[in-house]
């Protein structure tokens, strides 16, 4: 993206202009198409509904996308290194159940913060498990995470024998309800913070750049001295951890945990990342793009609800959007 821009600019462009361009390029690298799509979508919905363009509704959308938004950060890392993680929905569920079991007064009652930490630890371990299946056992990521998806879902059910745990302290549920400074809940703030931090990590940390190298060519990366296996394990562990964190956020929103939570979330998450311009073959993608992808899915769902479109038709529309987004990407690439 940046190369196009620098080609077009006159040779005398100021460094300030350069910086502004590179900031824009950083935020939305590779996602100009999706960004345009998002803007168009918002325009259409603003015109066709009275309620879309209201502060209340926008905040609503932000609340709704938090869970997928946090999971999509981890999924972006995984897809960047050329992998895939099908287990995030199940990991979300097991993290919730562990949190509830350890922290809820009806069970272990070790206080909720301890429960949250336990849930996150289990989630990270599940991710690490997927990573090890890939790096140590040589399983393809699809298979390894498919296995983890099943194992984690089963464990989530075992903890309470399939029943839900309801009722958490007020401070916990208020994390996702109370809007600080009049607009942002702590969970939404957390999502934004994580998105920006990961964006900076991917762009400005050597390790972040190495993830692109691994996705671009694992062999080149390995021969260049990059610890490909270790980083792969880390990436899956972080993806698991973030799925667990998304589980905690979901628990706060629902004031309950249940083992069937997060069914199918992995597909929404992958869809968001792919709509955001990441390539499933690895090496291409950005957090900015993923954020746009998450917003597109969130806004589309919200808008279709406002328009009174039935959920069944919504599924069809979202499927078409995924196909179109990736097809335009493929056309663009071929045109190059």
């Amino acid at each position: 993206m940046s190369s196009h821009m620098s080609e077009a600019k006159p040779a005398t462009a100021t460094s300030v202009g350069d910086m502004r361009r590179s900031a824009a390029a950083f935020l939305f690298a590779g996602s100009r198409g999706p960004l345009i799509g998002l803007v168009l979508l918002c325009l259409v919905l603003s015109v066709s509904t009275d309620t879309f363009l209201t502060v209340r509704n926008i905040l609503n959308v932000m609340d709704q996308i938090t869970v997928i938004g946090i999971m999509a950060i981890g999924m972006t890392l995984v897809i960047l290194i050329g992998g895939i993680d099908l287990s995030v929905g199940s990991i979300l569920a097991i993290a919730m159940m562990v949190m509830g079991y350890v922290g809820h007064p009806d069970y272990m009652n070790l206080s909720l913060p301890v429960g949250i930490l336990a849930g996150l630890a289990v989630a990270a371990l599940c991710g690490l498990g997927s990573g090890l299946m890939i790096t140590a056992m040589g399983l393809p990521p699809f298979i390894a995470t498919l296995a983890m998806m099943s194992v984690a879902r089963g464990l989530a059910n075992i903890i309470t024998d399939g029943s839900q745990i309801v009722g958490f302290p007020d401070w916990f549920t208020s994390l996702s309800i109370v809007r600080h400074f009049g607009f942002v809940s702590l969970t939404v703030a957390l999502m934004i913070l994580l998105t920006v931090a990961t964006g900076i990590f991917l762009k400005y940390r050597a390790t972040g750049r190495n993830l692109y190298a691994i996705g671009g060519s694992p062999e080149v990366a390995r021969l260049s001295g990059i610890p490909v296996r270790r980083l792969t394990n880390w990436v899956y562990a972080v993806c698991g951890l973030l799925a667990g964190l998304a589980g905690v956020v979901l628990a706060a929103r629902l004031d309950s945990v249940q083992p069937s939570s997060g069914l199918g979330y992995e597909l929404d998450t992958i869809a968001a990342v792919v709509i955001g311009g990441a390539s499933l073959s690895g090496g291409v993608g950005s957090i900015g793009g993923t954020a746009v992808g998450v917003l597109i899915i969130g806004v589309l769902r919200n808008g279709l609800n406002l328009l009174g479109v039935s959920p069944f038709i919504q599924q069809i529309i979202i499927g078409v959007v995924i196909a179109l987004a990736v097809a335009t990407d493929a056309w663009k690439r071929r045109a190059k």
Partner: protein, 506 residues
Amino acid sequence: MTVPHTIRQDQTEGSHKGLSVAGLCKSFGPIRVLTDASFDIRPGEVVALLGENGAGKSTVSNIIAGAFRPDSGTISWQGETYAPASPAAAIEAGIGMIHQELKLLPDLSVAENVYVGRMLTRNGIVDRAAMNQNASVQLRRLGLDVSPDQKVRTLRVAAQQQVEIAKALTLNARLLIFDEPTAALGSAETALLFEQIRKLKAEGMSFLYISHRLEEIAGIADRIVVMRDGRVVARHQTADIPIRRIVEDMVGRSVDRMFPPLHPPAERTVLDVRDLTSQDDSFQDVSFSVRAGEILGIAGLIGAGRTELVRAITGADAVSAGTVSVDGEVVRLDGPAAAIRAGMVLVPEDRKLQGVILDQTIGENLALGNQDHVASSGWIWPGAIKDFAEKSIARLGIKGRHDQPAGKLSGGNQQKVVIAKWIARPPKVFILDEPTRGIDVGARAAIYEVIADLARSGMAVIVVSSDLEEVLGLSHRVMVISRGRQRGILDRAEANGVAVMELATS
């Protein structure tokens, strides 16, 4: 060396019912790989096609087998013009090719492999009985005792090759092209193959036989065609030719290649390799050392174990025994990162798959090997990448911008990016595997210049190359490897093409 006298006008050219190739030319992009290739194969004849790696043998055979189409030139086959559009068309016309890398499906049975893509059916159901029956007829014709039910994976390489031949026979092939059929065979298996070839020859089949094992040629071929640099340089009417003479034809003489002058190396040994043996047996007991400022060439045929050797030295592949030391310290060979830390770097054989990330910019590719420089604190700023890349671009004369994807560069410039990736460290041992493969002649001189510079700056340099002239022109000494064994190290004074090829084909 003069060669034209060996090219005699073939009296029967074009008038027989065999294969006649006339004036084939082929270029891949800007690189000309075949120029005016002409020869004949008569019915019932085995013609050996010889030449160094890259001489154009595979291109010719792939054209005959329908995999490539020539830019110009004609082929006639059984008295008719023959221009196969695909391997399927060639097979249809009765010409089959047995590739060096066998193209079998390991988890299907022998009979299924023989009939893959054209399974016999009865009422729409695969007719295993008929396939097994027919396949075993052909297998018996080859004197092979394997069950058609057996999975190909369970067969030895030699037997797998027989399955390929059986497949060609059921396709009614009248001409078989063998690409290095004996490369993976032992002597008993080779004898069996030759017996089969003689038997099929007596039935009127023709063979184009490509091999690097010159000593076996006299035993199987009727005539010899030698290629060099994409041209046919000799056609011998009998296979009873001294090997030395063939080698001279293959090697030829340098015409217009310029190599930079070599400076004498220092006394100090930098790299010392002792009794190195690979885990998969691709090479055994290799020992040598390289001094500061010295360029060691490694010559040998493709598949001899050269690439495996340098990959093992730089930690890319595992070894089962032996040591590698740099400046007297033994290096732990547990991955490229450790080797790089010890000061050993590799410019790998396959530039596009192992050297550069094609979708990433020159700057990003360069940063990959130089994070100590551009990201010493762990933070990597685009400005730092740009400065570093521009310095490297200027130093090596790379034609490209730091923000250009590496995939847009020419081969020569890509190779310079791979070299530039390592040069800044600076390394102590610089290893280049096939540094000029697929790079046009003009751009090669620049790469040679860079390699000579590396040595001049005091590094120990290793150059692996299939291009004999290149190894000889660049190196202080040349080590020759054949079938995984080190056959000798020749000093510059005694290293010539004939001596190297004799060792390489031993």
